[in-house]
């Protein structure tokens, strides 16, 4: 809470800068529109203005600045416009009982959330299993770990269209599966690394103690290694869920997607409706924030119950 005031101040500054940037970003579009509706602008003619400096246009046409903040297809929308678009495609549609309409961001967010969930589940499972194998088998450690690192240096987006083609060739309908695979690909790595660290976190003396009780391998795993890894697990889950969301959206970006927040961005681009892009971006950010917060809460509750954190 100590950080609340500074964070709000910085957010305020960002919003102010954003509003200030709208005028120079949109001035040309605004003047074109004003000219078409018969207003006097300096200089006249779109071609002439293309050779005029942005600031000269801004300060030479102060009476038309208002228009720059109200364009239908702005280069840079105002935060207010984005918020309005967001409300129009979520809350307002929900109030009209059309929450799951194809034009509603709630519907697209739901699609994205589902893929993210399956990708997260798959990635987390693979990550945890991989970590256990690495901790218990030296061969796996030596042969798998370098490739796990290399796998993350490969730009997955290059593979994304391929995964989509492959799965459709193999007769898998829709985008759900390939999206989940891409998101699992991005999500498994932080979980793997975190769990390896966590499973190895018990000290030698703690392991020796269990050995003096002649505890079995399974007992050592469930009574010491696994509980010791929980704090590491949650930290990496938070990174993993954000990565899974990025993966899903990346999977929705290549041509042909029709549903999901990524597809909204794509469609907004194709139809030249920047407001739709911005609204989808904000929705994705909100979704990311919600997912991370949810896991953060789960972490606090779990660790408190386990007596690891006050």
């Amino acid at each position: 809470m100590r950080n609340l005031v500074p964070v709000l101040a910085v957010l305020g500054a960002i919003l102010a800068l954003w509003y200030a940037a709208v005028a120079p970003m949109n001035i040309r579009g605004a003047l074109d529109q004003a000219e078409r509706s018969g207003a006097v602008v300096v200089p006249e003619g779109s071609a002439v203005r293309a050779r005029t400096g942005t600031w000269a246009l801004v300060f030479g046409n102060t009476e038309h600045l208002g228009l720059a903040y109200a364009l239908d297809r702005p280069r840079l929308p105002t935060p207010g416009q984005v918020a309005h678009e967001l409300w129009k495609t979520t809350g307002e549609m929900a109030l009209n009982g059309r929450a799951m309409s194809k034009r509603s961001l709630l519907y697209h967010g739901w699609i994205t959330l589902q893929s993210t969930f399956w990708g997260f589940l798959l990635g987390t499972t693979l990550g945890i299993l991989g970590a256990v194998a690495i901790v218990y088998s030296r061969v796996v450690d030596m042969s798998l770990m370098p490739w796990a690192i290399i796998s993350q240096t490969i730009p997955i987006v290059a593979l994304a269209p391929m995964i989509i083609v492959l799965s459709s060739q193999m007769g898998i309908e829709g985008r759900g599966v390939p999206k989940a695979i891409i998101s699992a690909y991005l999500c498994y790595f932080p979980v793997l690394v975190g769990m390896v660290k966590g499973l190895r976190s018990p000290s030698a003396s703690q392991l020796d103690l269990l050995q003096t009780y002649s505890a079995s391998g399974a007992q050592a795993f469930f009574k010491l290694r696994l509980p010791a890894s929980v704090p590491y697990l949650f930290t990496s889950l938070k990174i993993g869920v954000a990565a899974a969301l990025v993966g899903t959206i990346v999977g929705e970006l290549p041509t042909g997607a029709i549903s999901g927040l990524g597809a909204r961005i794509l469609i907004g681009d194709q139809f030249g409706t920047p407001l739709a892009i911005w609204a989808a971006l904000v929705a994705a950010a909100v979704l990311a924030g919600a997912l991370v917060t949810l896991l953060d809460l789960a972490q606090r509750v779990t660790l408190r119950r386990m007596g690891m954190q006050g």
């Binding site: 100590r2 950080n3 500074p6 964070v7 709000l8 101040a9 910085v10 957010l11 960002i14 280069r75 030296r138 061969v139 450690d141 030596m142 042969s143 798998l144 770990m145 370098p146 490739w147 290399i150 993350q152 240096t153 490969i154 730009p155 997955i156 987006v157 290059a158 593979l159 269209p161 391929m162 989509i164 083609v165 492959l166 060739q169 193999m170 990174i239 954000a242 969301l245 990025v246 959206i249 990346v250 970006l253 290549p254 041509t255 927040l261 990524g262 961005i265 794509l266 907004g268 681009d269 920047p274 892009i277 911005w278 989808a280 971006l281 994705a284 950010a285 990311a288 924030g289 991370v292």
Partner: protein, 281 residues
Amino acid sequence: MIWLWGALAFWAAAWFVNARIAASPVRDTKGARIVVPVLFGITLLVLWEGLVRAFAVSPVILPAPSAVAQTFAASTTILWEDFRQTVIKGAMSGFAIGASAAFVTAILIDRSSFLTRGLLPIGNFVAALPIVGIAPIMVNWFGFDWQSKSAVVVVMVFFPILVNTVQGLREAEAMQRDLMRTYGASYLQTLVKLRLPAAMPFIFNGLKIATTLALIGAIVAEYFGSPTRGMGFRISTGVGSLSIDLVWAEIAVAALAGTVFYGIVAWIEKRVTFWHPSQRR
């Protein structure tokens, strides 16, 4: 079926060799640390080749590694042109600009505890967002050529590097700062001689994360419009025109570029932060 059994036999043999190496006293040598994963990688390729041949998978679905290698060798001109467009012009320029901007910003806001406390949580949050989504906006603002790709990369790499640098600059212990004060050291002297070196492991952590992001950003941005060259362009058109082996060759280039880029940064890190416990031998 000979291909299938051959591949499976190779797998078994390679696994046996690796298991022997991992159990033998040479396992901690540099050679073993390279041989084992390389053998594992080759095994994957052999399995892939064997499965594709044994089940006569259509090259439109999944070409064999040997076919990809042939295409790779036959189209080096195209691949090189795409590499220059996407990696060097798009990703590298954006990486350089974004990293420098993040570094300078970190040093500037570090002087104010208020700004640091305000920007750090926001930066952490933004670093976790799917920023690739801004690609169409940047293409709209900066046009089809590499400048828009560069812009996407700048935004994508900025926040991880910013957050890591700010955190790194706070790393120097209070005691070491006190020591600098007893010498009557200036702000600049403390920054250059103590805080920047102490921050280096964190800065490199951010840079390493950013290498992958840079390539992702540059490639995705090409899906939203590019001149008729570039890896993202070739991949998206190649998928449409079913020249799948060329797509895989591009993927191989992307994978190689990503790994080498990361490797270079990791190599520099090793030179700069040789003193850090994680790098010591």
